[in-house]
């Protein structure tokens, strides 16, 4: 008899969603997680009286109960929706370019247009037409793909066929003149890790549409609450989870999954493996079959390992208002050259590239202990420059980065630095350590259209081996959770097909 019908490697969003869906679908499932806590990126850590949120800034795709987005249904199916308390954010973000722009975009279409018009009155036509394009484009996506129209043709869906492969920059250039307006509208590019020149218009449109229609959200208890709820759903449905236990090898025979060997040397038999470890670790490190390894790695050969982050986690001994923080999500940009900003992600420099400052306590006053607040300040960074820092200078380099970042935000949030009680700096190396991903990339590969699932061979190279998470699709909470549920569905379908064939 086999030990488990399915083994899930890694308890990130994708792994946990897959495990919960498998267990609830009746499969005997085991999760192996290297770390002592579930979540991967979706976790928190404690310093002094603060519990720092690691990664969740804005949850997308949830929607209100009366106007649910796709994520709401997904969480319902995973059995965790009722266990979670969500906090809606009123605004998308406050956008600051020192001395040039300071505006806050509300999370509704009319409001955004109103705010943009106030600052950029000369661009009225472009602003209205742009959001019209975003909406009409996305409505076509919904009818064609979400509602599964059997007949998807250029005649029926002209915008889709025209814009799906366009880059965001050329579209923005077509609609706007003022570089600051372009910068503001493309403000979310950091959430995809690519500047507008390289970012598909469909991805930028999806981000804008999802956050406007379904609002940005946060969670009471942070992302750890979600991870713990999914872990509980796995256990409640009879699944098992082993923490502090990594997978070391995926054993195959004749091109099919046979077992997983743990880092304690135990071999556990199974027919299905869902890997939430990176595609690189899974195929280059875990997979034992040399031929299949080559085949799988050929698929991703042209891809580039995506960006990681430098995050400054700060716990302040005062409420947000005392240091003039008025919005949950804030972006600070210094230049209008987004390509240059992107190039800076490959350096250690933090004196210029965009910063994201999230202060959860603005929308959820009891996120941190009474009378305090926490803010996470994030900037994109690839691992390479950090890998070149000599180990003995690593800590000093962290402090140097933190100091520069604090100097940049101080003018906008006066008193910020003096009020810091606890702080921690996470670098791409930190992400490598806690996730085990190459480049410490929580985003997987760079999100170019050519590497998207549209062009990938959907068939797993090894029978029974499925991937889930950012490395196998798109980054972010909603996409990774969706990918986990999809992997589980495919396995359950396969299992019942085999069952019926007997």
């Amino acid at each position: 008899m086999i030990d488990y019908e399915a083994i899930v490697i890694g308890a990130g969003n994708g792994g946990l969603a897959a495990a919960a869906a498998l267990a609830r679908g009746g499969a005997r499932v085991l999760v192996l997680e290297r770390h002592n806590i579930p979540g991967g990126c979706a976790t928190s850590f404690c310093r002094g009286r603060f519990e720092f949120e690691v990664s969740l800034h804005q949850l997308s795709g949830l929607g209100r109960p009366e106007f649910p987005g796709p994520l709401r249904g997904l969480l319902q199916n995973l059995g965790v929706l009722s266990k979670l308390e969500f906090v809606e954010m009123e605004n998308l973000f406050r956008f600051i370019v020192p001395d040039k722009v300071d505006l806050t975009l509300p999370a509704n279409r009319a409001g955004i247009i109103r705010v943009l018009l106030e600052r950029f009155p000369d661009e009225k036509g472009g602003i209205e037409r742009f959001f019209d394009l975003v909406y009409r484009f996305f409505q076509e996506v919904i009818s064609a793909f979400y509602l599964r129209d059997p007949e998807v043709t250029p005649e029926k869906y002209p915008l889709y066929f025209q814009y799906a492969f366009r880059d965001s920059q050329s579209v923005i250039d077509e609609y706007f003149r003022d570089p600051y307006l372009k910068l503001t509208v493309a403000g979310y590019w950091g959430y995809m890790g690519l500047p507008p020149r390289l970012l598909a218009f469909s991805d930028l449109a999806a981000l804008l549409f999802a956050y406007i229609e379904f609002k940005p959200w946060h969670l009471k208890g942070g992302s750890q609450a979600l991870s713990n709820a999914m872990a509980a759903a796995v256990l409640d449905a009879g699944g098992e989870i082993r923490f502090s236990c990594g997978a070391e090898r995926i054993v195959t025979r004749d091109g099919a999954v046979q077992a997983v060997v743990t880092d304690r040397g135990e071999e556990i038999t199974t027919r299905y493996v869902v890997s939430n470890a990176s595609a690189v670790a899974t195929f280059a490190g875990l997979l034992d079959d040399g031929e299949k390894r080559k085949e799988a790695l050929k698929e991703v050969r042209g891809a580039v390992v995506g960006t990681s982050f430098l995050t400054l986690y700060t716990g302040l001994r005062c409420p947000p208002g005392d240091v003039s923080i008025t919005e949950t999500t804030n972006f600070i940009c210094t230049s209008t050259d987004m390509d240059r900003d992107f190039a800076l992600c490959r350096t250690l420099d933090v004196s210029e590239p965009p910063l994201i400052i999230s202060c959860y306590d603005v929308s959820d006053p009891d996120f941190s202990p009474e009378g305090t607040c926490q803010a996470a300040i994030v900037t994109m960074k690839y691992a390479e420059p950090w890998l070149r820092v000599p180990p003995e200078e690593y800590a000093a380099e962290k402090y140097r980065s933190a100091e520069t970042i604090l100097r940049r935000i101080e003018p906008h949030f006066p008193g910020f630095t003096a009020n810091i009680e606890e702080m921690e700096v996470a670098t791409p190396i930190t992400h490598m350590r806690y996730l085990g991903h190459p480049g410490g990339s929580p985003y997987g590969f760079e999100q170019h259209v050519k590497d998207s699932t549209l062009f990938r061979n959907p068939k797993p190279p090894v029978k029974g081996l499925y991937g889930t998470g950012a490395w196998y699709g798109m980054p972010g909470y909603q996409p990774t959770l969706t990918s986990g549920a999809a992997a589980a569905r495919a396995i359950l379908r396969e299992m019942s097909r085999k069952e019926n064939a007997r």
């Binding site: 492969f165 195929f283 280059a284 050969r301 100091e403 702080m423 062009f455």
Partner: protein, 385 residues
């Protein structure tokens, strides 16, 4: 996506060409095998096997173990951090954290300085059984009790109790060796004058460097002892440091010391945020902690059953982690002070006492997770590992 749709999207040919070109000149990811782990190990090894190169007798009751790595430079650390030393004693596998007392500039060796304690277990083993040439298994350097140039003043008031002086030795040695711009006042409380470790070195350094003031404070002095006596009080601190403004306080020692010294420091009008405290292991007597239920006595005994595993006996007065280790169940541990969550496990049934302020994540609390090194059984328990 269905090819008939894909091929009709404007720009399809361009994307396909791009894909082909990138594949042609792309990366062979097979060479990445193990690369992340190898790099991370250099900074944050999970486990190290270090050789005891030298044993230095510091006082009759304390020894320094100089540890070297057989495989190249040791991971850097920040002065004030600790390593956990893991060992097998009889049939028990356990570990204890020890602050590194050597300065961080040297990547050739780590020093830990171990002091005997009453009814010691690991300390006895280290002090009595370990010889030069033996191998010690340790964690990588860990902990948050270190200087932060952004948050802390350059003027530092250090309060040590007993072996709590070890992290400060690392900080002081680092600063004086590399000429960092820092000023220290070190108050070192100990029972007898002969027990104060590093006394000679500290007196020598204090005589030579104007930015170090060393104030040993002896609890039970012999008649005629000339130095400071009793406890480290607000009065004594004020006399030595003058104005407390613009100074950051670091405190490291046994739990009782924190209870006494922190109110003393606060009475000098030092803001709470300017006092950094090192974590400390289980107190001598947990039942004297605030919130301990009166009806439970420390030697009350309970049964802990591990779901899908065995049942073991446990004492109310001892951390659950220790009971598990005594019962032959090994679970990961590092700080053994409630801080790092390595020893996290799920409580399925029964109640435990968790000292106030133990940093357990909010949603962990809601889902019944506890840090077993800082959880004391109050009745029979069922747990999930």
């Amino acid at each position: 996506m269905r090819p008939d749709i894909l091929t009709k999207i404007e720009g399809y040919d361009r994307v396909v060409r791009e894909r082909e070109t990138c594949r042609k000149y792309g990366t062979d990811f097979s060479v990445e095998r193990g690369a992340v782990e190898e790099y991370v190990r250099r900074l944050h090894p999970d486990r190290m096997h270090l050789k005891v190169a030298e044993i230095i007798e510091e006082t009759p009751s304390a020894k320094t173990f100089r540890l070297v790595s057989p495989n190249g430079p040791l991971p850097p650390f920040q002065a004030g951090q600790y390593v956990c030393v893991y060992c097998d004693i009889g049939s028990v596998r356990t570990g204890r954290p020890y602050s590194l007392s050597s300065p961080p500039g040297h990547r050739g060796y780590y020093d830990i300085t171990v002091k005997a304690v009453e009814d010691g277990f690991v300390s006895d083993h280290l002090l009595n059984d370990i010889r030069r040439g033996d191998i010690l298994e340790t964690s990588g350097p860990e902990g948050h009790f270190h200087f932060n140039p952004i948050l802390h003043d350059r003027a530092l008031v250090l309060l040590a109790g007993g072996s709590g002086v070890t992290p400060f030795m690392s900080m002081i040695r680092e600063s004086l060796e590399s000429g960092l711009e820092r000023t220290f006042w070190l108050f070192h409380g100990d029972r007898e004058p002969g027990e104060a470790m590093f006394r000679e070195e500290l007196e020598r350094l204090a005589a030579r460097f104007t930015n170090l003031r060393y104030i040993p404070v002896i609890e039970n002095p012999s008649p005629g002892y000339g130095g400071a006596c009793g406890y480290i009080t607000a009065d004594l601190i004020r006399r030595e440091i003058g104005d407390a403004a613009g100074k950051t306080f670091f405190i490291c020692g046994p739990g009782e010391m924190y209870r006494f010294c922190i109110p003393e420091i606060l009475s000098l009008e030092v803001p709470a945020g300017k006092i950094r405290r090192e974590v400390f292991g289980p107190p001598k007597s947990i039942s004297r902690s605030p919130g301990w239920p009166v009806e439970v006595r420390e030697d009350d005994r309970f049964i802990v059953s591990v779901k899908g595993g065995k049942s073991i006996p446990a004492k109310a007065g001892e951390p659950l982690l220790v009971a598990l280790e005594r019962g032959g169940i090994v679970i990961p541990s590092l700080c053994r002070s409630g801080e790092c969550s390595q020893c996290r496990l799920k409580l399925l049934a029964g109640r435990v006492y968790q000292p106030e302020g133990t940093p357990v994540r909010r949603s962990d609390r809601q889902h019944g997770y506890i840090h077993s090194c800082a959880a004391y059984p109050l009745e029979d328990l069922e747990i999930l590992l």
